[in-house]
Symmetry: C2
Subunit: 576 residues, 2 copies
């Protein structure tokens, strides 16, 4: 290489340190500057960052002694815990690959994914030992099983070869982790579509470090709210087995804030921890937020000032408003398994609708008002604010998001023209494990295809309107199922809605809303169609999108990660 | 390479985009999301970010047409301007190297640096044409000279071959800048010691992008103050020819905030722009801050809420207090030319002395109080707060700072033990241009040697106490010249002070304070020695550090960048 292309390598001192981007570097600041800060597990176990650092050293050295070598895969099956956090660091810092097992998958799928990624080591919560017994014969590559238990274990249960705390007791707290190529694979996990077996995505040290810096920058620069700052208290409510809990454990650790790991999610425990530990920052899917709002005794908890990113599925305006009324500073995050995951954030920006109202509410709550009292007068919650928070939002730094036609031509940024969202960032999976066709499809034309349809306004704010496979094409026009679902759930009788396409001789496809009513509520198809006609009169939906009929169901089928399973819904409805 | 070491390259789609870290990527978010945001030059010229993007395209295409190729060096000699900002992007985005000329150097040194870096192209402010005429014969590699002028030019003056705005008018606003290796050199500039010719440092695209992300993260995560957020208005007061104006033009652009470029620094214009443009974030050396506070009419300006990083030399507690009284949210930044530059920031953190007082003052000022009124009661300025702001502070994310003995063993973090500060971060110059011995010395043992002496407390906060070459060794103990200077300037009669070592038969060295009194003030050596004895009684300085005498001077010699020139001061004093 020429001197120019190597940044002046010919002038570099032979001993100059080139500084690879490695996960261990994320620990530099917090271990020195936040050594006494707390990490809490279920309110029952507490440790400091200094202990986190020592336990990472112990875990790394113990795993290395067991034979975990660079490149070997360590699978973890656990609920959110301090132990999981330790594995987030220690496993990749050895040069090994952390594979987070999606414990919500079927036993078949779990066996497939653990074997497919080549895991030789499994760290497993005692709760999943019966599952392991069921699939053990299908894991021929597995050589050791480490038990994770909240209580001391007298003797190792069947199927396990080691116990986590015993291993750590014999480990070296000052273990020195080596340097290596920043492109070394650090993590891998599997993403479920609605068809076929799960597909494995993978991320390098460099990618995880850049995701942490890029996303932290985007979060932190927002004044007034929807941000993450020093002094916040972090609790994940997206599982650590799901896309690195959105990368937030890495970010929270880098920042040195107090962290709270809630184990298996139970609404009452989550609400209790929010109050007792002073949690101020979380992230979850809409279903969990709804559960937190609806849980028995939920209104006994003061949720004011809880900053919360909602992703995984669209945050509907109705849910956003319900959360705001309770004082939750709710906003949208956008991404997927393939994207590490965060691509965009729906923060209010200076001058945006609602920013002043949010400031007024925050000031009122700080002065002792209840969230409901704060949401009056200058703090009133307007439709504009709700819409802004429910909007997909702005690409984070270094994220290149476009909306394009099938030939990769850009759609106009007029908030009307739609296109597929394609992405380039420094933190996208470069393919799927052992799946070259799917990898080529994902990266067709050199852009990662999200399979989401969206529109962009003149300020660069993205609004996802549909999934490519869910979009409804009626009379040559696209109808957004997500937009229509948001409008239907605005009706007071509706609990949830899914809009699917049904074949139509004249129009090609027509939209069919599948609706679940709230308990005890009554409503008929004509009423909902009239409701949507009023929306069309107000310009919120196209007239051709008004459905001809509505189907009422008792429940909507969802995938293992809580997303509407539209394929199954379509199959079920069309089979009738 | 194995599949492991390449992050799963064997699973990567051939068309997957690896996303090199390039300066052009910093423009992705702001050009889309802040297209209408303003960039102001001296209050006279205004352009939007959209125009910035177009002008970068025009400049890049025009330079390429002139023959600026990848690897060639483009030198810029200008005061802080929108044009300089455009060159910060367009030149490196071509794959060429931006060399920022330190126009405060002597003509001899300027000729040396421009020729030494191999500049073929020079962009030069009309003001410096007489200088160019003087040194032109010593620049045999220079092939073209582009005039930068605030006013239209009828014909090209002698010595120039092109004019900037004319070039841009013929350029392509949609020029597509290529991808290349992120380790390509992007910038280079020269750092002056107090001996010998300036030495050239150099930084790659990757380094500048990582500096921007790391420093922005550190700045943005601080709640309440000493931060940079959306909605801020940025104005540099460290020149753009000095270490990329601390990298802040890249950071401010990435963030999409309003930017104000003040041209040549004049205190009255800086104060006027602060008020008229609503500037909220700046950075400068202590000397400039002092000038702003002392300028005629300065007190007519409301400086409340102006966040300001002070670096280059130590921020003394006395100056920090004087700035706080005026409402300036002043804090320390630490770094040097070799480090891109930022390594650490002296922000107040949650729970730190002064954070609550700062919050009280901010609230009072927001409610209409003057800075002086706000600095009473709960907002009173304590010595603890002043000391915290004047402290060197905390390493930013990914910065590995140690204090070590000559064998690279760590000194204790007890805020007493001292050692040389050595560093590793992803943004350190890997050597000096054409100077292998100096490069090896800089990177001895694989750590960048800052030649600063410091101590670290148990929370990881660094305090620089001296330069290695300025530290005073008396009776086997180190005496910090910086600590003593801070204590001396606390005396109301003192304007500034420099403490140097003088040889002593008994003790090896003894400290000698050189003191400049405030205009009209009277004070003698005995008074200052008594003042320091009182400091020793209070435990603020060692008893053996109390000087035997004091020398009064009319002024203190400084280097071209405003630092005390202790070598010259020593030579002068010892020669008498």
């Amino acid at each position: 290489m020429s001197d120019h292309a190597t940044g002046g390598a010919s002038h570099a001192a032979p001993s100059a340190y080139a500084f690879p981007l490695l996960i261990k570097q994320l620990l530099l600041a917090p271990l020195r500057q936040s050594a006494g800060q707390e990490i809490v597990y279920r309110g029952e176990h507490r440790q400091t960052y200094a202990q986190l650092g020592e336990r990472i050293g112990r875990l790394g050295s113990a795993l290395a002694r067991l034979g975990v070598a660079p490149g070997s895969v360590v699978a973890v099956a656990d609920w959110d815990s301090h132990r999981y956090l330790e594995s987030y660091f220690a496993v990749p810092m050895l040069g090994a690959v952390l594979m987070s097992v999606n414990v919500r998958l079927s036993p078949d799928q779990i066996a497939y994914t653990v074997d497919h990624c080549g895991a030789e080591t499994l760290l497993i919560n005692a709760e999943f030992l019966p599952l392991l017994a069921q699939i053990r014969s299908r894991l021929p590559q597995l050589r050791r099983v480490v038990l994770l238990s909240d209580t001391p274990v007298a003797e190792l249960p069947d199927g396990t070869s080691h116990e986590y705390e015993t291993l750590l007791a014999g480990g070296n707290p000052a273990h020195v982790f080596p340097d290596f190529d920043e492109n070394t694979r650090a993590t891998s996990f599997y993403t479920t579509g609605t068809t076929g077996m799960p597909k494995g995505v993978f991320f390098s040290h460099r990618q995880l470090v850049l995701h942490a810096l890029g996303v932290l920058s985007a979060l932190a620069v927002n004044p007034g709210g929807q941000n993450l700052h020093r002094g916040d208290v972090y609790m994940p409510i997206t599982p650590m087995f799901h896309v690195h809990a959105w990368g937030m454990p890495y970010i929270a650790t880098l920042l040195g804030v107090k962290q709270v790991y809630p184990g298996r999610y139970a609404p009452d425990l989550l609400l209790k921890l929010k109050t007792s530990e002073g949690v101020t920052f979380s992230h979850c899917v809409p279903t969990i937020l709804q559960m937190l709002l609806d849980a028995p005794g939920s209104t006994d908890h003061d949720l004011g000032g809880w900053k919360m990113i909602i992703g995984g599925s669209a945050l509907t305006p109705a849910l956003a408003r319900a959360a705001l009324v309770r004082g939750i500073d709710v906003f949208t995050g956008y991404g997927m398994s393939e994207t590490c995951p965060i691509l965009a954030l729906g923060q209010l920006r200076p001058g945006d609708p609602g920013q002043a109202a949010h400031a007024a509410r925050s000031a009122a709550i700080a002065a002792g008002a209840t969230p409901a009292e704060a949401a009056t007068g200058a703090g009133a919650i307007t439709d504009e604010e709700v819409a802004r928070r429910a909007r997909t939002g702005y690409a984070v730094p270094l994220a290149d998001l476009r909306i394009v036609d099938p030939d990769l031509n850009d759609a106009a940024h007029d908030d009307r023209a739609q296109g597929e969202v394609v992405a380039r960032t420094p933190w996208l999976t470069q393919g799927y494990l052992h799946a070259p066709d799917a990898s080529n499809h994902l990266w067709a034309g050199g852009w990662l295809h999200t399979q989401d349809i969206g529109r962009v306004d003149a300020t660069g704010s993205l609004q996802i309107t549909d999934r490519i496979k869910d979009v409804i094409k009626s009379g040559g026009e696209w109808i957004s199922s997500l937009d229509m679902e948001a409008l239907i759930t605005r009706h007071p009788a509706v609990a949830e809605a899914a809009v699917i396409a049904i074949p139509d001789a004249k129009w090609g496809e027509r939209p069919l809303p599948l609706v679940v009513l709230k308990p005890g509520a009554e409503c008929d198809a004509a009423t909902l169609i009239a409701h949507l006609r009023a929306c069309a009169d107000a310009g919120e939906i196209s007239r051709y999108a008004i459905p001809d009929t509505v189907r009422f169901l008792d429940a909507l089928e969802r995938t293992s990660v809580g997303k509407l399973n539209k394929k199954k819904l379509r199959d079920t409805v069309l089979a009738r």
